[in-house]
């Protein structure tokens, strides 16, 4: 493992070691470039993960975000939230993201949905949508397709090509067969077929067979919210970091929290200032920077990096850094069945249905999505949150309900569109600071009415599906405006016009030639709330462009 000297200038500093950063870092270091990844969180390994709901599940926080071993601690990094720009934002936990090497890919479900062709040109197909910034991407599905394939084969994705009639075209099948079906998957499949829909095996970033020296999934069940003790979840921690380190040109530097990207007199990035674990400041010199912090922290860092030359923040001549913030929207319904599902065994979700993926004018609103059937509650969280509405909260009937329902329950998640709206944003709170004295993330967010309609539509379809599957009891969570966010998208959107976008189609900042931004912030639209696959495909694609730019000599302009 390489450790660069303190004052050494590296070719690239990659800020953020989550779903995207390690991919870029690995590709750059494989191409012969020197890279350091600065990650604010710790570098945990398989041995640090445990089957321990009390330690890892999200029940520790005030209602209810934050798994603080693997994610950020809101006590140290507070958020402020308001619905509209007219309001004063108040402190409330809102944003959740993975805060460790591997980021959210360490604890995620592993749902690995490609975007469809339509996701890249919804504006052209459906026209202007008042009150939104709906726009086409500057790239097409066809341009990204080779990188979807690359991501699937590099990381190890299990799935069945051709099983979903709505799937976009693909150049290659999945490297691994789908995970074995669980009872929740059988029930989704049964219900969907009765309704004339087209269920198919969930593509998952989890190994159904041994792959590239990694073990196959053992179906232990401690999957979402947990780090995989087998290394079978295809996180960047398990699937990318080892190869990056092996190059001898990529240093992983955890517990390193960047507070500013520094620029020289000519407005080129010359390094970054960061805090180490002991809150000591360091300066990392670099010829170029790649920002991969996520859709909330990336714009925050750019805004915190303002200077005399860049009074509005870095890469922000358009004024759009932080704008068009999009979050994970959806619906949640739960059903109880006659026989035991034992759904706590195995991965979370094994079947999906995408019959309502694209918008449809007949529905009377814009938006679409997909539904997965999943195990949703470990024992403690089931007792706290998973029982049918109206169940007594303690006593004999409560206990009886625990016995009756734990193993006969499943959840349907609808994953739906979140429209890009300029006033939905990430900005710096003018008053509240984090434990390092930096401005807190300020979220301004209100759902578009069509997004609420889409969520309601998916709750209704899910209830139909539960009925068709034979549920003996079912209920739906109320559809309401978002009060938290985990999939963070769209705050540095890509585009061809520097006046209406932050990065170009190759993730290079319009304003600064040696600054690249590669994460969910590049998204122009949200797809259907399953962004990881596309974030990672974009990362592989961006890395190709960054490597060729570096090789052409046009990056080292700050020296």
């Amino acid at each position: 493992m390489v450790r660069f000297a303190d004052k050494a200038q590296v070719d690239f500093v990659v800020i953020g070691g989550g779903g995207a950063g390690p991919i870029v870092a690995k590709e750059l270091s494989m191409a012969g470039l020197q890279v350091v990844i600065l990650e604010q969180g710790p570098y945990l390994h398989e041995g640090d993960f445990e089957h321990d709901e009390l330690k890892f599940k999200d029940i520790f926080d005030p209602p209810g975000i934050g798994r603080e071993v693997l994610t950020r601690d809101h006590a140290l990094q507070p958020d402020t939230f308001r619905k509209t720009e007219k309001e004063k934002a108040v402190v409330v936990p809102f944003i959740e993201y993975g805060r460790c090497i591997g980021g959210g890919t360490v604890h995620f479900t592993g749902n690995y949905w490609r975007f469809h062709e339509i996701d890249f040109h919804e504006r052209s197909k459906w026209g202007e949508l008042p009150g939104t910034g709906l726009a086409d991407w500057p790239i097409t599905y066809a341009e990204l397709e080779p990188y979807y394939t690359k991501a699937e084969w590099e990381l190890g994705i299990s799935g069945q090509a051709g099983a979903n009639p709505f799937d976009p075209p693909r150049s290659k099948s999945y490297p691994l067969p789908p995970m074995p079906i669980k009872s929740s998957g059988v029930l989704l499949e049964r219900g969907a077929r009765r309704l004339g829909w087209h269920p198919y095996p969930a593509p998952l970033a989890i190994l159904s067979r041994p792959y590239k020296g990694r073990a196959a999934c053992a179906h232990c069940g401690f999957c979402e919210y947990f780090g995989c003790e087998w290394g079978a979840k295809s996180s960047t921690l398990a699937a990318v970091i080892p190869a990056a380190e092996k190059t001898g040109r990529c240093e992983i530097r955890p517990n390193s929290y960047v507070r500013k990207i520094s620029t020289d007199m000519r407005g080129r990035v010359d390094g970054v200032i960061y805090f180490d674990h002991a809150k000591q400041e360091h300066f990392q010199k670099a010829k170029a920077a790649v920002v991969c912090c996520n859709g909330a922290e990336t714009p925050r860092l750019l805004l915190m990096s303002k200077s005399n030359l860049f009074a509005q923040g870095l890469a922000n001549s358009s004024g759009l850094v932080g704008k068009f913030f999009m979050v994970d929207l959806g619906s949640t319904c739960q059903g109880i069945f006659e026989h035991p599902l034992n759904d706590y065994k195995g991965v979370r979700a094994t079947r999906i249905v995408q019959d309502f993926y694209d918008s449809d004018t007949k529905r009377g609103f814009f938006g679409g999505g997909g539904i997965d059937a999943r195990f949703n509650f470990y024992p403690i969280s089931f007792a706290l949150y998973g029982l049918p509405p109206g169940t007594p909260r303690w006593g004999t009937e409560f206990k009886h309900a625990l016995i009756e329902n734990f193993n006969r329950s499943m959840t349907l998640y609808g994953h739906t569109t979140c429209l890009p709206i300029e006033s939905n944003s990430i900005s710096l709170d003018p008053e509240v600071k984090d434990a390092w004295g930096l401005p807190a993330l300020r979220i301004t967010y209100k759902c578009h009415p069509d997004d609420l309609s889409t969520m309601k539509f998916f709750a209704e379809r899910s209830m139909e599906l539960l009925d068709a599957a034979g549920a003996i009891k079912k209920w739906a969570a109320p559809v309401e405006d978002a009060t938290s966010a985990g999939h963070l998208m769209g705050t540095c959107r890509m585009g061809n016009n520097p006046k209406s976008s932050v990065v170009n189609k190759n993730h290079r900042a319009h304003d600064i030639p040696n600054l690249f931004i590669v994460d969910g912030s590049s998204f122009v639209t949200s797809g259907r709330n399953q962004p990881t696959c596309t974030i990672q495909a974009l990362a592989y694609r961006a890395a190709d462009h960054i490597v060729s730019t570096a090789k052409s000599g046009s990056i080292t302009s700050s020296i």
């Binding site: 926080d61 209602p63 975000i65 035991p340 706290l384 949150y385 006593g395 969570a477 009060t483």
Partner: protein, 191 residues
């Protein structure tokens, strides 16, 4: 996302898990100690007095009662709570101390001749808890009882996995399909 969070709404108290993470080895060692003590029949409590422990155990036993199957009492939930209050949930000690005292005041007010909650008849206990079920104290005991019933036994509760066995959960490093009724039928071609 919001509706999901609202769905999961519930007055969940904040535990300092950052502290928990830092002090994990010592917490686990202490839990193991408490567990051994419990198993050896010695009722050793680090925070509770014997009387407080009996009162808290009686409350927990109404939240998850023992009937034809084991409840909070058999799971040793009170040991989990005692350890929680001397480790990761230290800042909740006052809620328990004051909560138990207030509970005993209510016992004396409503059931003259009785001093202790644990001495009441089951119906009297239920009546009293129903009256306080929206208090911070009751919410916390409820949360801790559920945790102590269903968390890893290493924390001092869920003795002999009674909580897990009751709901039909097992903690293993490996399973093989079929996992449940419907996928077994599906495999057999029954669909």
């Amino acid at each position: 996302m919001d509706s999901r969070r609202e769905f999961l709404a519930g007055a969940v108290s904040g535990l300092s898990s950052a502290w928990l993470y830092l002090h994990w080895p010592s917490v686990l060692a202490a839990q193991a100690h408490a567990r051994r003590a419990a198993q050896s029949g010695l009722a050793i409590f680090e925070f509770f007095s014997k009387e407080q422990a009996a009162e808290v155990e009686a409350v927990a036993a109404q939240i998850i009662p023992s009937n034809d199957t084991p409840g909070a009492r058999e799971a040793g939930v009170v040991h989990f709570i005692d350890r929680a209050l001397t480790s990761f949930d230290r800042d909740k000690q006052g809620t328990y101390a004051q909560g138990v005292a207030a509970l005993q005041t209510k016992v004396r007010d409503q059931f003259p001749g009785h001093d202790r909650f644990a001495d009441l008849a089951a119906q009297q206990e239920i009546q009293l808890l129903t009256a306080i079920e929206n208090t911070e104290f009751f919410e916390l005991v409820r949360l801790h009882t559920i945790m102590g019933f269903l968390a890893k036994p290493e924390y001092g509760g869920n003795d002999n996995h009674v909580g897990w066995k009751l709901i039909g959960f097992a903690d293993q490093m490996r399973y093989e399909p079929p996992f449940g009724y419907y996928d077994r039928e599906f495999q057999k071609g029954g669909k």
